[in-house]
């Protein structure tokens, strides 16, 4: 049994924003989230836009410092808070945790050729001794992500590459520093439908080869199911994780009312099935504002099962048949 590589303990993230009229407002983008990702494992984080999934990803990478809670990373034999690492340890963490961003068109500096964008990491982390060796390594990595012959891509700029090719380069760059943990934030959502499976397959193959842990962030349940088929899915709503469980269990038998509504709403590319499906029963279609979130369970304003307790008390994640669900109304 492999051990957790990275753990979040009661992590919250509050952003302070200044409105147009000089008022200060607080936005709780992530609230009291605890979760862990094991070595060589995948967690798919699914939620709609604005639910805080990308913020959570950035917190796990150490790009944002949570306002409360801890991010623990397994380094030199123990779990260490990434915000109290020594300089040397932080450098190791920085190399271990990499990002594959959403927009392939802005991933590579448009003023730089592919080779000049990919060489620096090899030299910075002393993975290559000199430029010549780094060039060879770039070629190997381009080959690995299916850009062959690699020499053809060395001197190209991002404007001369397609979205699929750029996303391959983003993957090559992320794995070039031998990471252990990758956050893939909507890594295929900007790509055409016909390319998505290809890029996901590539990512799955490379993950397997390198034994990487991956936090796979997406708004698309069908993509999450494909990527994390043997692993777990976490569902997020307005800053909270509302359900975590094995992928097929969540898809086939969602427990949290929000997960249920989400699954009932996913479009299905099969006309006979699609037309038989009911609309989810919701009290309201409107997503509440993060600046003024509902009391208690944040889903209660839309949930058809909500009662008094849901308005008053925020539910915590409980174990129900091997699944974690945050709902007062389930499992009693």
């Amino acid at each position: 049994m492999s051990k957790p590589l990275i753990k979040l303990e009661n992590v919250s993230m509050v952003f302070e924003i200044h409105t147009m009229f000089g008022e200060k407002k607080k936005i709780k983008a992530v609230e009291d989230v605890s979760l862990e990702i094991k070595e060589n494992d995948i967690l798919a984080l699914v939620g709609e836009s604005g639910c805080g999934k990308s913020t959570l990803g950035r917190i796990m990478l150490g790009l944002l410092k949570p306002t409360s809670g801890k991010v623990l990373y397994y380094i030199n034999g123990k779990y260490r808070d990434i915000w109290s690492l020594s300089k040397k340890e932080y450098k190791i963490f920085r190399r271990h945790a990499q990002l594959i961003p959403q927009n392939p068109y802005t991933t590579i500096n448009p003023m730089r050729s592919v080779i000049s964008a990919l060489i620096p990491p090899f030299l910075h982390y002393k993975i290559a001794r000199n430029k010549e060796e780094a060039r060879k390594m770039v070629a190997e990595h381009l080959k690995m992500v299916g850009l062959v012959p690699p020499e053809d891509f060395f001197n190209r700029y991002s404007c001369r590459l397609s979205g699929g090719q750029l996303q391959r380069i983003a993957i090559a760059r992320a794995i070039s520093v031998k990471p252990k943990f990758i956050v893939a934030d909507e890594a295929v959502s900007m790509l055409d439908a016909s390319l998505r499976i290809e890029i996901l397959d590539l990512l799955l193959r490379i993950r397997e080869e390198y034994g990487l842990a991956v936090l796979f962030i997406t708004h698309d349940l069908a993509i999450a199911r494909y990527f994390a088929r043997k692993n777990k899915i976490a569902i997020m709503y307005l800053g909270n994780i509302v359900e975590i469980g094995n992928t097929e269990d969540i898809i086939k038998n969602p427990l949290h009312p929000y997960t249920k509504a989400l699954i009932m709403s996913v479009p299905i590319p099969d006309p006979d099935i699609a037309r038989k499906r009911e609309l989810p029963k919701l009290r309201s279609l409107e997503v509440p504002s993060l600046m003024n979130p509902p009391s208690g369970c944040k889903f209660h304003t839309r949930c058809s099962l909500a009662t008094e307790i849901c308005e008053k008390q925020a539910p915590i994640l409980r174990n129900i048949n091997g699944r974690l669900v945050a709902c007062h109304k389930i499992g009693d």
């Binding site: 699929g164 439908a193 499976i197 069908a222 709403s265 479009p267 590319p269 006309p271 037309r275």
Partner: protein
């Protein structure tokens, strides 16, 4: 909701005929042919889905129906014939003033970004009033507001929404308000260009259902454009599949999903993940998308097609009817 298998193949029922439409754009690297010699019929009272990946020309084609082409583009050839009182008029031959009256009155369009479609400094109410007054200048404002409120209600929006500014509404509300605005002049035909793409899944599902209901109630003809085949499975009667400026297949929604003929349609359907389909049934689409400025010779799909043979690189296949209104442009099939 049942799938419409009604016999629609009656020549008389064609409300819109597109013939030999070619649209080109001047770009820095040369001339880009976004729509290439397209023929398409839309039957009265149907929802026709137009699907394809980004850059295939589906939006350019749909916007051209209202003679809306970006300044660097032009309609090189073709006709867009719209049926009015048993006669077809060519939309492309209308004068500017005729076109201004025609737009929204006969055919309206719902664009993708609802935020940028509204004027941010005027209320929803004034969008309705301005639109109507531009066509019927002597119409009474109160009357317009009354109709607008009813339309907003049809889209399950509160009447009071009419007094809001666009920024005061959520994305889903704005998209619904925009859809109701497209109904204000009681058009015969509505073009919906990715109307649900920017919305969250729950709102998307709701709007699709609502559009379908409104369609069933009013029998309005709709052209629904999206890259998302799953959405089309739920709402359309017939579908057309586009690839690099050509329509490669047209059929009923069941023909396209359960009996696709064109190798591109087949490959595309196999490449979309779903929460119901077995994961083993998924296959990536082979090969890269060709450069649209330098499209392949013959059938544009041939470099990626697993079934290609000699003729595919030599001549471009035409759409042929396989019977039952199922049309395909592929050398594998012979005219029925």
């Amino acid at each position: 909701m049942s799938i419409n298998n009604k016999e629609r193949r009656n020549e008389k029922d064609i409300i819109l005929k597109i013939r030999g439409l070619t649209i080109e754009f001047r770009v820095t690297r040369g001339i880009l042919r976004a729509v290439d010699n397209v023929d398409l019929d839309v039957y009265k009272g149907e929802i026709l889905g137009l699907a394809g990946e980004s850059g295939c020309g589906k939006s350019v084609l749909a916007h051209a129906i209202l003679n809306l082409v970006d300044p660097n583009g032009y309609i090189k050839s073709g006709q867009i014939l719209f049926k009015q009182n048993d006669e077809y008029i060519d939309i492309l031959s209308l004068s500017n003033e005729e076109l201004r009256k025609f737009r929204w009155d006969k055919i309206s369009i719902v664009f993708q970004g609802a935020m940028s479609s509204f004027n941010p400094v005027i209320k929803i109410k004034d969008h309705f009033i301005d639109t109507v007054k531009d066509h019927e200048s002597n119409k009474n404002e109160e009357e317009i507001v009354k109709i607008a409120k009813k339309l907003l209600k049809d889209f399950r929006l509160d009447e009071q929404v009419i007094n809001l500014y666009p920024h005061e509404m959520s994305g889903g509300m704005r998209q619904r308000a925009l859809a109701s605005l497209s109904f204000i002049l009681n058009p015969e035909f509505i073009i919906l260009d990715e109307p649900t793409t920017a919305l969250d899944v729950l709102t998307q599902k709701f709007i699709i259902k609502l559009l379908r209901e409104i369609h069933e109630k009013t029998g309005l003809t709709m052209l629904f454009i999206t890259h998302d085949l799953a959405t089309l499975a739920e709402i359309t009667d017939r579908m057309a599949i586009m690839y690099l400026g050509n329509i490669v297949e047209i059929g009923t929604v069941r023909q396209i999903f359960y009996d696709p003929k064109h190798p591109y349609t087949k490959a595309l359907l196999q490449a979309i993940p779903s929460i119901t389909k077995p994961l083993e049934d998924l296959n990536p689409l082979p090969g890269p998308v060709p450069d649209p400025l330098n499209p392949p010779s013959g059938c544009k799909f041939h470099p990626r097609c697993p079934l290609r043979f000699k003729a595919c690189s030599e001549s471009r296949p035409k759409l042929i009817d396989l019977g039952d209104g199922h049309l395909v442009a592929c050398h594998l099939y012979k005219r029925n």
